[in-house]
Symmetry: C2
Amino acid sequence: MKYLKKLRNSGLRPTKQRLQICEVLFDTEKTFHFTINDLVKKINKQSNNKISLATVYNTVHAFEKKGYLKQIPINSSQTYFDTNISDHHHFYDLKEEKLIDLDNSDIGPINILKKISGKKIKSVEVLVKLED
Amino acid sequence: MKYLKKLRNSGLRPTKQRLQICEVLFDTEKTFHFTINDLVKKINKQSNNKISLATVYNTVHAFEKKGYLKQIPINSSQTYFDTNISDHHHFYDLKEEKLIDLDNSDIGPINILKKISGKKIKSVEVLVKLED
DNA sequence: TTGTACTTTATAATGATTCTAAAAAGGAGT
DNA sequence: ACTCCTTTTTAGAATCATTATAAAGTACAA
Ligand SMILES: [Mn+2]
Ligand SMILES: [Mn+2]
Ligand SMILES: [Zn+2]
Ligand SMILES: [Zn+2]
């Protein structure tokens, strides 16, 4: 099992639900963006074992907390997640309601000149909205 | 009435609810960030006329569509709006759950090198998450 | 003033997400 | 394998921000 160690190292018990979700999320050529609903569909397509919705939510949040997923800041009725955990940014196609990766190299370096005392920067995320 | 013309020019009838909401939103020294709940509280503090929740939602969305408000892309349980409609960016203090403006001058120019054919850029927004 | 389109409102509906609490499963130690 | 304890899963209920409904009220052009 490919993801046993990953889960154990994270202090997450490698249950069959988590292993299956790992396969759907991480056994792919390319990274991708998804909502919880997208993920449930993928799970059901991949195998006949249903995983309860609560478990899908729990697992996604557990993976996010461990840094295996990123949440994308966007105003949508559903929360978007990203299996691409590298520093990068996004186009958001308003018409298609689709996210597109923007590599760091697609944007010049970003320099935050303002400082807030007692706080440090955790992340810098750029969202570029696209219209026709 | 200070906002009659503004509303008429927008094709929005200047009802007393809209005028009151204009006062709360735009009769201020500084711009600010708010959720619908914040706004309802401000309205109730300012006068005894209650405005129905549906009207607050309708009005905020009408003003956003007209460009008098901006929605801030952030993952929160409530949608944040901004009376500062200039091009600018945000710190988000994760601990305090507060937004702080980042002027364009606080960030160097942002150059989006990647192009998507048939699409044009509508907005570029940077969200900087802060932790302790 | 009258007609009509727009607006407000109370209320219900929606839908994503979280909560609950009981059953199931993982795993360390024996 | 058995025990014991903790973690996890699960169905279903609850939450809650937001949107829809449709009836009553209002703005305003003619
Ligand atoms: Mn979440
Ligand atoms: Mn909205
Ligand atoms: Zn991405
Ligand atoms: Zn702002």
